[in-house]
Amino acid sequence: MRAMIVKEFRQLRRDRRTLAMMIVMPILLLVILGYAASFDVSDIPTVVAGPGANVAATALPKSFQVAGTYTATAGQAVTWAHDELRDGHAAVAIVTASAGGGPLILVDGSQLFTAQAALRQFAAQRSGANATASSADPGPGAAAVANATVQVLYNPQLKTSYIMIPGLAGVILVFVGTVITSLGVVRERQAGTLEQLAVMPLRPADVFLGKIVPYFVVAVVDLVIVLAVGVAVFGVPFRGSLAVFGLGALLFVFVTLGLGVLISSVSQTQGQAIQLAVMTLLPQVLLSGLIFPLTSIVVGVRWIAYLLPLTYFTQISRGVMLRAEPIGSLWPPFVYLALLGAAVTGLAIWRFRAFLAPGAAR
């Protein structure tokens, strides 16, 4: 047994990547999760619309971060408030006076934890207002909140499955696109067939595309299955444009496949490829807003979330599926995914060429 233990330690010492994963990853995860793993929402992005919107906005409790105000008639204010929530500019919209006369509060149920936090705040405001109703003037903002009709949009029952399934579709695409693709390419190298391909009359682009197209098809089939199950079994609505969703998914798959090839180009074995792929998968699951709200992640760690492609796909999928968000307001995640896809795929092709065109720098 001693001989086995010594042998294992020797092998482990030489497998620096595994060693790093065993020592650095837990520390990294602890730090990141420590700052990221929070369902507590302290800031609730809010817009205020209607007559006296500016005054009402100043009187709101501190946790309601005013993202915009719109002084307008009641009818215009309600339309504007709906648009603001649909486009993801706020989680709560307060309309000081609606067509029915009284104040109206709209809550975006697709931002589950923020919506829950907002509803708790409103409940607290109401009980506080009832207690002080006879003694003092609570002010216009507090009055608006206390007396308002509250409507939860997009996910009225605040179901977790509504927000998880659009994001999980992205996780599955990362799994197929990055993890499985990286294995497929490394397998060629480990088997020695990549060298055979290098001397055959194939352009690097032929090999690159030939390798990723099958995985692309599998990823698309997976996506369709996940969405079909989500809609049919879990009752998740698909309210937006299929074309907009498809375009977002296409860009996202483009990034994940490129990432898979890039990982394979720096991995010598399938084990190394899996390690690296998991290292890209894990932060995406934890930091993309899929589980923990982005606003709950401390700023020092949140910037990582904005580098991860799943963050943007989650925005697109939730926006399109739950809120019917149009492409006009989704352009930032689309542009980011396109840029990231071009950068990652360009780098992957450059690395790939080094193996398939031996004259190139290695």
Binding site: A191, G192, T193, E195, Q196, A198, V199, M200, P201, P358
Partner: protein, 287 residues
């Protein structure tokens, strides 16, 4: 298969000219040249780490040399058997050949008939639908060679096609190699078996990335200086021990020119390669 050793040899068409390759600080090939003639087999021999695979990879186009020049036809006209055989374990024999044909754009009944003949002759016909990963080592090598021969290459580069293969499969492989050469291909193969190298038209002997000897087997044998003697046991004399090697139950001792030898024997290619290696070693030790 061995071509005529004179002025009527076919012209060298492909090969390497003073090729050098370095991996980090390690010089894997140092100014190595070799010419490969159409219709002939050129063998590269040498021990482990001699640079055989590196040279073949350079000539096939799988590795860019750090110095020197390589002449080879277009990728469309090169057949290459890498050390791994280059076949896909998770594809069947037929699927492997189908993939290779598709990449090289090979169509037509004649090509199909030829592949059928190769498979039949090498005993692979019955294994057409078996996964390559389920084949024996010898069968995989035969499949790799057949796949490399598919495009009817002008240059066929085979990295140790017969290593670790049973005698029957070796004979099958040599039948394939002979067919390729007879078809006009310039065949460059590496081998650790000197009896195989003796069948080649031209031999290049490598040691630690350097050329030890080159020429036809007859030229290499004729270039052995001095004489070789057979002795029953390991010589007692320290100086003779440095020049002795074991072969088939007896010992052979190389005597440099001017050193008398009892019972001299005519050298063969194996003796010639051993003497070349000894001379390089002794020169290095004495330097």
């Amino acid at each position: 298969m061995t071509g005529p050793a004179g002025g009527d040899r076919p012209a060298i068409q492909w090969g390497a000219e003073a090729v050098s390759v370095s991996f980090g600080g390690l010089r894997a090939l140092d100014q190595v040249s070799v010419g490969v003639r159409p219709g002939q087999v050129t063998a590269v021999v040498g021990g482990d780490g001699a640079g055989k695979t590196t040279l073949l990879r350079c000539i096939a186009g799988a590795l860019a040399p750090s110095g020197g020049a390589v002449r080879r036809p277009s990728a469309q006209r090169i057949g290459y058997l890498p050390p791994s055989t280059g076949v896909y374990d998770d594809l069947s024999v037929a699927e492997n050949l189908e993939f290779r044909s598709a990449v090289f754009g090979i169509t037509g009944a004649a090509a199909g008939r030829q592949v059928g003949e190769y498979l039949e002759r090498t005993g692979l016909a019955a294994a057409r639908d078996r996964l390559a990963g389920q084949l024996s080592g010898g069968m995989r090598r035969k499949l790799g060679v057949i796949a490399a021969m598919l495009p009817e290459p002008e240059l066929l580069v085979l990295d140790e096609p017969t290593t670790g293969v049973d005698p029957v499969s070796r004979a099958d492989l040599w039948w394939l190699i002979a067919r390729a050469a007879a078809g006009g291909a310039a065949v460059l193969m590496s081998t650790t078996y000197l009896d195989e190298a003796a069948r080649a038209a031209h031999v290049l002997v490598l040691d630690a990335g350097r050329t030890l000897a080159a020429g036809t087997p007859a030229e290499i044998i004729a270039s052995v200086p001095g004489t070789i003697a057979v002795v029953p046991g390991r010589p007692d004399d320290t100086e003779e021990r440095r020049r002795a090697w074991r072969r088939a139950g007896t010992w052979r001792v190389w005597h440099p020119p001017g050193v008398p030898a009892s019972e001299p024997v005519p050298p063969d290619l194996q003796d010639a390669v051993c003497v070349a290696a000894l001379r390089a070693e002794l020169a290095g030790a004495d330097a």
